[in-house]
């Protein structure tokens, strides 16, 4: 400290050199990040300010300012895609957290064959999403499929799942829940096992019932794990693409089309680079602020509850 305060002395230049060395050492990493993350984002943003349609090269690539953004916000298909994404996020994440918690609590109790049980639970997570989505599609697609046949046996008339704007959501959400609940369960299980068992013993001594123990000990102490699981799942669900692409293709009509699928079809199928880039930038900004907010909440939660 004394050295640092001494004016023009050798200490300050040493510090400067140290800092320079630090930057030099970090440079390759920073350059890589700039190349693979910052540069594409900036380029996409620049692209989004142009009219650039690969299928209409005669229009050239004029600078159009915010016109693509204006089109996006006035586009009913984009607005409803945002709505569909919200619906999917809400339904899937809620069910996944609920089911994941139940599975985690059950797994926490298992004492014999623990490894086997955990492996078995994790299986759906290990199956590639596209394969899982195809399996679920087959179960719902044909009138002879598993889901429809089961409903018929119960005496109900099954809908034509993928031709019904509301019913189509059921297989979509179910497939996603089936696929990712194990992931949530595993995260929560880790959280459960971090809770000091002495707390439950003390609660037993104090005469607290199971429910009271759950609400007063388990849930509050599980909060960091729940938040992590929520953050991961919500961000994933916001970007949902493969399940929908395989199962409904966004249909019937565009009734189940999420933002990522609309962006994909605009950019890669219709090759509208300008407009598609604008959609990408909007998605990026939303995801970025969502992540930022979650990390702040999470950070606070972790510091408050973590050391307990």
């Amino acid at each position: 400290m004394k050295n640092a305060r001494t004016p023009p002395g050798s200490g300050a230049s040493w510090l400067r050199e140290e800092a320079r060395l630090g930057w030099a050492l970090a440079l390759p990493a920073l350059a890589t990040i700039a190349l693979v993350a910052v540069f594409p984002i900036l380029w996409t943003f620049w692209e989004s300010l142009h009219l650039h349609d690969l299928r209409m090269p005669w229009l050239g690539r004029p600078f159009v300012g915010a016109a693509n953004y204006a089109e996006a916000f006035g586009d009913p298909r984009f607005r409803s895609a945002l709505g569909h994404t919200g619906v999917f996020m809400t339904a899937a994440v809620t069910l996944e957290l609920g089911a994941g918690l139940l599975v985690a609590l059950a797994l926490d109790r298992v004492s014999r064959g623990r490894g086997m049980v955990r492996t078995a639970v994790l299986l759906p997570w290990a199956i590639p999403t596209v394969v899982a989505a195809l399996i679920w599609r087959f179960m719902f697609e044909s009138p002879a499929g598993l889901a429809s046949a089961a409903l018929v046996r119960l005496g109900a008339a099954p809908p034509t799942w993928f031709a019904d704007a509301l019913a189509a959501w059921i297989p979509l959400v179910l497939a996603d829940v089936w696929k990712t609940t194990p992931f949530v369960a595993l995260l929560l299980l880790a959280g459960l096992q971090n809770i000091d068992k002495a707390l439950y013993e003390a609660a037993d001594v104090d005469g607290a019932g199971r429910w009271r123990q759950f609400t007063a000990i388990t849930l509050p102490l599980l909060r960091p794990a729940l938040l992590v699981a929520f953050l991961f799942r919500a961000l994933d669900a916001f970007r949902v693409f493969d399940v929908v692409y395989v199962m409904t293709g966004g249909g019937p009509g565009t009734a189940t089309e999420p933002v990522a699928l609309y962006t994909f079809s605009t950019l890669l199928q219709n090759l509208r680079f300008g407009f598609g880039s604008a959609l990408s930038v909007i998605v990026f900004v939303v995801a970025f602020f969502f992540a930022l907010a979650s990390i702040r909440v999470l950070g606070r939660g972790a510091f408050l509850d973590g050391p307990a």
Binding site: W58, E141, F162, A163, D164, R239, G251, P252, L271, S277
Partner: protein, 426 residues
């Protein structure tokens, strides 16, 4: 994340361009062909290219595999040609892509080679013209046709109402689960089915001057007719709303449907007793007309074009000319079941022997062939229409509302694209 895609795409396009450029420099005499190379189509093209090579030893030919799904091939072509790749030299184009590629300057005008256009079906050649110039030549034609069960109906239906009656009777009296099946998933196939109903009821997507008329009363009636066949008449199962060609063929060949709308490819497969329960018990006809229209068959098929950036357009055209010779077309008909584009061949014994489908029946349908709108922005128009049709058929919107919205979207698009003849649209 999505925002990385532009970059990846550009890098890929650049890499393709570099690779293509490099190839062209290293082996100046290699002519490249790209198109459908799988299954029977692949067998035919390989045979024919081998023969071409033998006849022209100075020319070496390489095949460029492209995805079999039309939309994926389209996407790849657009990326290649945007990068001005000189390879592939010869492109197999879906019939609806020619105006788009021509307007973009991606394919070379063929008029200077003075091709014998009057030897091909006029409707097919029309689809290969843009702004009065010829940009491709028709390789084979596809037409939407009505498959009907000869054991369930006394004759091919004469109009749409008779089709509905016969379908219902087959369901009620013969216990056939489905009266009529067609392709109702949200994809290009749905537009072709709609085009046939549209023609049957006297409507159109664009009029002669390129103006959008898909919100006309006739069009609303056509779409309502399709929807009611599912919801009110119950002759078309709601499951078709997720079906493409193959699902309808499976239903028909298992004896579950009395009528089916499909392309000619299904004929040979349905006649194969090892997989079909209806072999020898079906025939084909044109989709019947309705009250105010004419029997209409959607025109599909492929054309051959020369890459505008090709370094050897003359050689490329020689290959196209070779592939379009009667001999090659008949071989293609025999192996892949695809219809030649030369009307004269339909009077020959050779073609009658090559095709499983009776020649007279095929010709009757081809005569009713109507192309889809000939415009560089067809793919975009089609996407707008697919969504509107599917919304109406799945009861998310009334047919009139859906088509009004689609027409507005199409008009806005056409106004934006600033094309010569289309710009005259008021």
């Amino acid at each position: 994340m999505a925002n990385g895609r532009t970059w990846i795409l550009r890098a890929a396009a650049a890499a393709v361009a570099l690779a293509a450029g490099g190839c062209a420099r290293a082996e100046p005499h290699v002519l490249t062909f790209s198109g459908s190379l799988v299954g029977r189509e692949g067998d035919v093209i390989r045979r024919q290219l081998d023969r071409f090579r033998e006849a022209n030893p100075s020319i070496d030919i390489a095949l460029r595999a492209t995805p079999d799904a039309a939309n994926l091939r389209h996407q790849l072509y657009v990326q290649w040609l945007n990068a001005r790749a000189s390879d592939p030299d010869v492109l197999q184009l879906d019939v609806v892509w020619t105006p788009e590629f021509a307007a973009a300057g991606w394919i070379a005008g063929l008029d200077r080679f003075e091709p014998p256009v009057d030897q091909f079906f006029a409707a097919a050649v029309d689809a290969d013209r843009w702004n009065g110039s010829l940009y491709a030549l028709p390789w084979f034609v596809d037409v939407g046709m009505l498959y009907w069960r000869t054991d369930l109906a006394p004759r091919a239906p004469r109009d749409l109402d008779e089709l509905a009656q016969l379908a219902r009777r087959a369901q009620e009296e013969e216990g056939v689960p489905f009266g009529f099946v067609w392709q109702g998933a949200r994809y290009e196939g749905l537009v072709t089915v709609f085009l046939e109903y549209l023609g049957a009821l006297g409507g159109a997507i664009l009029d002669d001057r390129g103006r959008v008329v898909v919100d006309s009363t006739a069009a609303v009636r056509a779409l309502t007719y399709m929807r009611d066949a599912i919801d009110i008449d119950g002759i078309v199962p709601p499951a078709v709303l997720t079906w493409q060609e193959e699902q309808t063929r499976f239903a028909f060949q298992n004896g579950q449907a009395a009528f089916m709308r499909n392309w000619p490819y299904a004929y040979a497969l349905l006649q194969d007793p090892s997989q079909s329960k209806v072999a020898g018990r079906f025939a084909v006809a044109a989709m019947p007309a309705g009250p105010d229209g004419a029997a209409t068959a959607a025109l599909g098929g492929s054309a051959l074009a020369v890459n505008a950036y090709s370094e050897q357009p003359e050689v490329a055209y020689r290959l196209i000319d070779y592939l379009l010779q009667p001999e090659q077309m008949i071989e293609r008909a025999r192996i892949a079941g695809e219809f030649p584009t030369r009307p004269a061949l339909y009077e020959t014994r050779a073609l009658a022997d090559a095709l499983t489908i009776p020649l007279a029946d095929a010709l009757k349908v081809i005569e009713r062939a109507v192309p889809r709108p000939i415009t560089p922005v067809y793919s975009q128009l089609s996407e707008i229409l697919q969504i509107a049709l599917h919304r109406a058929l799945t009861r998310q919107q009334e047919p009139r509302a859906a088509l009004t919205e689609a027409a507005a979207g199409m008009r806005a698009l056409l106004a934006k694209v600033k094309l010569g003849p289309l710009a005259s649209t008021p």
